[in-house]
């Protein structure tokens, strides 16, 4: 093998310019694919981390996945219902204390109860529709990162101020309100209540910063006329990989719909998967183009080295050896390109990681999210080697089949 490798290396060394161009083709393919993959996965991870921070790992809501079974169905094998009307009832999770106690027995994480509803916030003649969430501040802080997002005042003050309110900074800006101001919240059923702003938060997510408000649970229960009722339980797990299992068990235990963060963002995960497929297809296409460069140089060498092929065969080199020589030529170019491309990819990724800028809309970002992973390099290099192996194999097969007698007869 060393002899074949030496012959292969000699062939490509004597065609330095063509070799360098082919190596550069592979290097650019590998380099850009590594940089692109680092950016793609970085943004995916950054987005997922933001998402996991922003939403509960498991959320139990006051809904059932299937309609409640009618009593008649438990008695008869076949029943037809006509004109069923929903029972007028207050929605929500009843006996939240009991439900929370049942979950605390086995859930490895923190729990917080919430009551959310729509309300209109009025201040100095302006109205804004808000999603008002009633919380137990201490418990809420154990399941969310809202404390980190506080820009003014304190989230804990909700625990010491009976009618305290925490709103987003953008909502406050729109209303011209600030910490210490008193605002009026009106529920959908017309109940109005005055609240004092005790804090402003900024999550970077515009919809939250403009339309989300927190108040003590009791106050919200009064405003929404739902005494001793909550409509969701948020769970923050110590191990997020257990989210699906915990959701399934909680749903079985309480009978309410429990949604894991993965289920809640199923569409997003699928979108990431499709995006990765598209990315690697593009990367593959780049490397196939690079493969054409290798095919070109190895084909040229086969053409120019027909006489050498004949002499090697006459010396006793079998067809397999001849084929290996030219496949090795393709692979050597591929390996050099993959190494150079890995260095280029690392350089590009490192450079991109230093670029800083800021979006003010939707999601705040201060730098390009780059994720360095050996897998990106391995995938890009394997694709490059596969491409160069094929590019070398096609002309190599032709070389191996050359008839030495034809070449020797044609020699001058």
């Amino acid at each position: 093998m060393m002899l074949l490798l030496r012959i292969a290396a000699t062939h490509i060394r004597t065609r330095m310019r063509q070799t360098v161009v082919s190596v550069l083709g592979v290097a650019l393919g590998v380099g850009f694919s590594v940089a692109m993959a680092s950016l793609m996965e970085g943004s995916q991870r950054d987005f997922t981390a933001t998402l996991i921070d922003a939403i509960p790992h498991v959320e139990i809501v006051d809904e059932q996945r299937a309609p409640a079974e009618q009593p008649a169905s438990t008695v008869y094998d076949a029943v037809a219902y006509y004109g069923l009307r929903p029972k007028e009832d207050l929605r929500g999770i009843r006996n939240p204390t009991e439900a929370l106690a049942a979950l605390r027995d086995w859930v490895d994480g923190k729990l917080a109860q919430r009551l959310s509803g729509q309300a209109v916030l009025r201040y100095s003649g302006q109205d804004i529709g808000m999603t008002l969430t009633g919380v137990d501040p201490k418990r809420e802080l154990s399941v969310s990162n809202i404390r980190d997002d506080m820009r003014k005042g304190s989230f804990e003050d909700l625990g010491t101020t009976a009618n305290g309110l925490v709103i987003g900074d953008k909502a406050a800006e729109r209303l011209g309100a600030d910490v210490g101001d008193t605002v009026t919240l009106t529920s959908a059923s017309g109940v109005a209540k005055r609240f004092k702003i005790v804090g402003l938060f900024h999550t970077g997510i515009t919809t939250s910063d403009e339309g989300l408000a927190y108040a003590p649970l009791k106050a919200v229960q009064i405003l929404l006329e739902k005494p001793d009722i909550i409509n969701s339980i948020a769970i923050r797990l110590n191990n997020i990989s257990q989210a699906n299992d915990v959701a399934a068990r909680a749903e079985r235990q309480l009978g309410y719909k429990a949604i894991s963060w993965e289920e809640a963002n199923e569409g997003l995960m699928e979108a990431f998967f499709v995006r990765n497929v598209i990315m690697y297809t593009v990367v593959g296409a780049i490397l196939v183009v690079a493969g054409f460069g290798i095919f070109n140089i190895v084909s040229t060498i086969v053409h120019e080295k027909a006489r050498d092929i004949a002499i090697l065969k006459s010396l006793g080199f079998p067809e397999a050896d001849i084929q290996q020589i030219f496949v090795l030529e393709g692979l050597v170019i591929g390996i050099l390109g993959a190494l150079a491309g890995s260095a280029l990819g690392f350089g590009l990724s490192s450079y991109m990681a230093t670029i800083r800028f800021e979006f003010t809309q939707d999601v705040e970002m201060t730098h390009l999210p780059i994720f360095f992973s050996g897998t990106h390099y391995i995938i890009a290099c394997l694709l490059a080697l596969f491409s160069s192996g094929i590019a070398g194999y096609i002309p190599a097969r032709k070389a191996a089949r050359l008839n030495p007698v034809d070449i020797i007869r044609g020699a001058t």
Partner: protein
């Protein structure tokens, strides 16, 4: 110019190394071309045989069949008593590597490699000698052929005669039983021709290797021990030469 006396060959005087039995090679084409037709002979060990004949008489085609570079349409080639028609391409390649050596009209050295490397390549492929012994053996072969001062030169830095002698050294690299030479002096001047012929002579005399050489040069052919003359792909005559 008087040629040496010639006597017909009854049978190989020494143990048979190479035998052609009813060899025929027809090139398939719209009108098939017969290159070699019903050629049979036996060549013993350490014989120095010339194959002569006019252009297109099938000399080189016969040599390629004997050297297992081509397969006959019919007939058989035996080397060292072993049939070769049932060998796979890989087995034929191995037999060429181990038992045969080729010298062509054009040296066919690998241009990127030095003299020494060109001679060592067949040894490295066969792998019977250690790296050290390969180097020693190649150096000795080249020194025997008067090329000790050109070990590290590339073919482009050598004269035609020197290149052809390197090709002879390479053919001898694996100490083959049989050297097949196709017009080995065809592209050389008279001085170089003498040098190459002397090299081949030495091989036969010293190493008891059999040499079969195709040549147009009748004077050179006359100095070999046996001459097989082809006309239109058939043996016209086959004689020992005094």
């Amino acid at each position: 110019m008087s040629l040496p006396a010639e006597v017909p060959v009854e049978a190989a005087a020494t143990p048979v190394l190479l035998e052609a039995r009813d060899l025929t090679r027809i090139l398939p084409a719209v009108v098939p071309v017969t290159l070699v037709k019903d050629v049979s002979f036996k060549i013993g060990r350490s014989e120095f045989v010339a194959i002569t004949g006019p252009s297109g008489s099938g000399k080189s085609s016969l040599l390629y069949l004997l050297g297992l570079l081509d397969r006959p349409t019919s007939g058989k080639v035996f080397i060292g008593g072993a049939r070769t028609d049932d060998l796979s391409p890989a087995e034929m390649a191995h037999m060429r590597l181990e038992k045969l050596g080729f010298v062509f009209q054009f040296h066919f050295l690998l241009p990127e490699f030095t003299t020494l490397e060109n001679v060592m390549i067949p040894m490295q492929k066969l792998g019977k000698l250690s790296a050290r012994n390969q180097l020693d053996h190649a150096t000795t072969l080249l020194a025997d052929l008067g090329l000790e001062d050109f070990l590290h030169r590339r073919p482009a830095q050598l004269s035609g005669g020197q290149r052809q002698r390197v090709a002879v050294a390479r053919a001898l690299a694996n100490s083959p039983d049989l050297i097949l030479a196709d017009e080995p002096t065809g592209s050389l001047d008279s001085v170089a021709t003498e040098q190459v012929f002397d090299s081949l002579r030495k091989i036969v005399d010293r190493q008891k290797t059999t040499v079969v050489a195709v040549t147009h040069d009748l004077e050179l052919a006359a100095r070999m021990e046996r001459r097989i003359h082809l006309v239109d792909g058939r043996i016209d005559w086959d004689r020992q030469q005094a």
